[in-house]
């Protein structure tokens, strides 16, 4: 990947995180394509194929992936419309989980940029830490990774796909009320 593209993509992700930290949600929404899929699967924990922890009874058990699949349960599975409605909810003055709002600080790192095989845009992987405080002593760390597809519409990058993986089998936070 060309260094100038790398730099451009990184700056885009940093500015996006900045918009979210500043709760400029309408501007953030403008960075998403109209056909975005924005989703966060659930996690489970299963023994791997080489485990000695058990002896199987049925030999043809498929190995289950740790994260749920596209047609299964997810923590978030959003379109641009449902994200817009989530933002409208936050702006209603009655979204009690964010009233008063939480404060966030996002760290984006480990950015890897690849061309897609199908010319659909850039495949961008990154890691994140989302630190959230709320109320008096409430603190949450959401640490995970993202897989994005970025497309350029001439006026800059837009996010066409985002998969968010938070590797917590039981989520330690009381909710997911922020964007990732």
């Amino acid at each position: 990947m060309r260094p100038d593209v790398m730099l451009d993509v990184e700056q885009f992700l940093f500015r996006e995180a900045h918009l979210l930290d500043e709760r400029r949600f309408q501007e953030w929404l403008g960075l998403l394509t109209d056909d975005i899929r924005y989703w966060m699967p659930t996690m489970g924990r299963y023994y791997g194929a080489s485990t000695k922890a058990f002896a199987p009874l049925e030999r043809d058990q498929p190995e289950r992936p740790e994260f749920s699949d596209e047609n299964e349960l997810a923590i978030l599975d959003e379109t641009k419309d449902s994200l817009a409605r989530r933002i409208a909810r936050l702006d209603s003055g009655m979204a009690w989980s964010e009233e008063p709002p939480s404060r966030t600080c996002r760290f984006i790192s480990n950015v890897i940029v690849d061309e897609s095989d199908t010319n659909a845009g850039l495949i961008v992987r990154s890691n994140f830490i989302l630190y959230r405080t709320r109320g008096e002593l409430e603190r949450d760390f959401y640490v995970g990774s993202r897989q994005d597809v970025l497309r350029s519409d001439g006026g800059g990058w837009k996010i066409a796909y985002r998969k968010i993986l938070v590797p917590q089998n039981v989520l330690a936070a009381k909710n997911i009320s922020n964007f990732f």
């Binding site: 966060m40 699967p41 659930t42 489970g44 924990r45 299963y46 023994y47 000695k52 922890a53 058990f54 002896a55 199987p56 009874l57 049925e58 058990q61 289950r64 749920s68 699949d69 047609n71 299964e72 349960l73 997810a74 923590i75 978030l76 599975d77 959003e78 449902s82 409605r85 989530r86 409208a88 909810r89 936050l90 209603s92 003055g93 009655m94 979204a95 009690w96 989980s97 089998n169 039981v170 989520l171 330690a172 936070a173 009381k174 909710n175 997911i176 009320s177």
Partner: protein
């Protein structure tokens, strides 16, 4: 134990002492009186379909493994090695003939029996493996695909424990041939509230909806509901601590795809469930103590696992009619996860309220206060068609009063014959 439950729950006056949500002694007593005695929900049968299939669960704070044995019988055991108390199975689910403890290698079969002990000669022939099987639940039974168990051998059979609640469970989980199936995946998260706060909410807290969920409703995360024509029959108490909230029978507060589907299957569902379906649409409920369901905005079944007086681990699954078409299942999936669960626009506002209703009781003076559950006090009546006690208005706290009255009886150690004495007339 010097906690006097009598002084904490006065259901005749609609008063509940705040200590019930925060007192460590009460929490400790709930372990023995409620979670080690009542029938507890473990999982759905579709999660362990084949011989050898297992999934892990909790009964209170006790680790449990649900395991279908080689012969096909569903069993449940403490998920704890008998040797040194290690957690036996570390996975959520799988399929096994035997599972081996990671510490010293004791291996147990799917009938719970101790099958293998490494270096057994060290016991000089004095280890009786028959005596050291996994600790089994005292009773296990399945109702309409829902697997329940109790650690109390003297508890009444599950069907008797459910009593008149059974029909309301049918109306959620057995509407069509084949019943329901669970979507793969589970929401699990930890919330800083007492387990009874969500339990009483799911008894049918009609009052909080428009205000607590105003933001989710105005943003279109649930269909706008027509004003109810029938103002009675919203809060239903079929006895034994179980509670249901209903809406008018023609309520259509589902996703558009589901509204069309419901119209198509109405006759079939009606034939299966009978004329009671013409009177009410059950939408929310609590099976005492800590199983809850909602059907409509989301189709969710969930357990409030206690984690100390001020903490609850929620496990929530989405369910769909097994025979529903794929497009309806997808609509149910999306509507469900966008409204309930950790990212749910409804549930996250609930959680903030449940949290602060619990944590504010930590203050010594706050803890001495009584909560007000007086709405509609004295206006309940028995409805013979619904086989339940009902409120006379679409807003009432009658079910919360019934819930805490039953909780107090169980906590006081009432025997099973009086706990399941028919509150519902014949």
């Amino acid at each position: 134990m010097n906690v006097d439950i009598h002084t904490l729950v006065d259901s005749d006056q609609g008063l509940v002492g705040r200590a019930v949500h925060i007192d460590p002694q009460i929490y400790e007593r709930e372990g023995g009186m409620i979670f080690a005695r009542c029938w507890m929900y473990l999982c759905h049968e579709s999660q362990v379909p084949r011989p050898g299939d297992f999934c892990t669960a909790y009964m209170g704070e006790d680790l449990v493994i649900v395991w279908r044995d080689t012969q096909g019988t569903v069993r449940a055991f403490l998920n704890v090695c008998r040797h040194r108390g290690n957690r036996l199975c570390r996975a959520d689910s799988g399929n096994a003939a035997t599972i081996t403890c990671p510490y010293h290698g004791w291996a147990y079969g799917n009938d719970g029996g101790l099958k293998g002990v490494p270096h057994q000669q060290a016991y000089r022939g004095e280890l009786d493996k028959e005596r050291w099987s996994l600790i089994s639940v005292a009773q296990l039974d399945i109702y309409k695909g829902l697997i329940f168990a109790t650690f109390d051998a003297s508890a009444p059979p599950l069907r008797e424990y459910l009593g008149e609640m059974a029909w309301y469970i049918d109306a959620i989980f057995d509407r069509r041939d084949g019943g329901v199936e669970m979507l793969a995946g589970v929401h699990r998260w930890v919330v800083p509230c007492n387990w009874k706060v969500p339990a009483e909410n799911f008894c049918g807290d009609s009052y909080h909806g428009p205000w607590a969920h105003g933001s989710a409703m105005s943003a279109g995360f649930s269909a706008r509901r027509p004003r109810p024509r029938d103002i009675e029959r919203f809060h239903l108490y079929p006895g034994n601590g179980h509670c249901v909230m209903g809406r008018q029978p023609d309520d259509a507060s589902d996703s558009p795809e589901v509204v069309v589907y419901e119209r198509e299957v109405r006759a079939e569902v009606r034939a299966r469930l009978g004329p009671r379906l013409d009177l009410v649409r059950p939408v929310v409920g609590t099976v005492f103590p800590n199983l809850a369901f909602v059907r409509g905005t989301a189709n969710s079944i969930r357990v409030w696992h206690p984690r100390g007086p001020g903490s609850t681990e929620i496990w929530s699954w989405l369910f769909v009619d097994k025979r529903a078409p794929a497009s309806v299942k997808e609509a149910v999936r999306l509507a469900g996860l966008r409204s309930f669960g950790p990212g749910g626009t409804f549930e996250q506002d609930d959680i903030d309220n449940w949290q602060e209703c619990t944590q504010s009781a930590r203050g010594t003076v706050s803890r001495r206060q009584m909560l007000n559950l007086q709405m509609g006090l004295g206006n309940e009546r028995f409805d013979p068609e619904l086989r339940a006690w009902t409120s006379d208005f679409c807003l009432s706290e009658s079910n919360q009063r019934y819930f805490y009255r039953h909780w107090a009886r169980v906590m006081e150690g009432a025997d099973w014959s009086s706990l399941t004495a028919r509150e519902v007339p014949q």
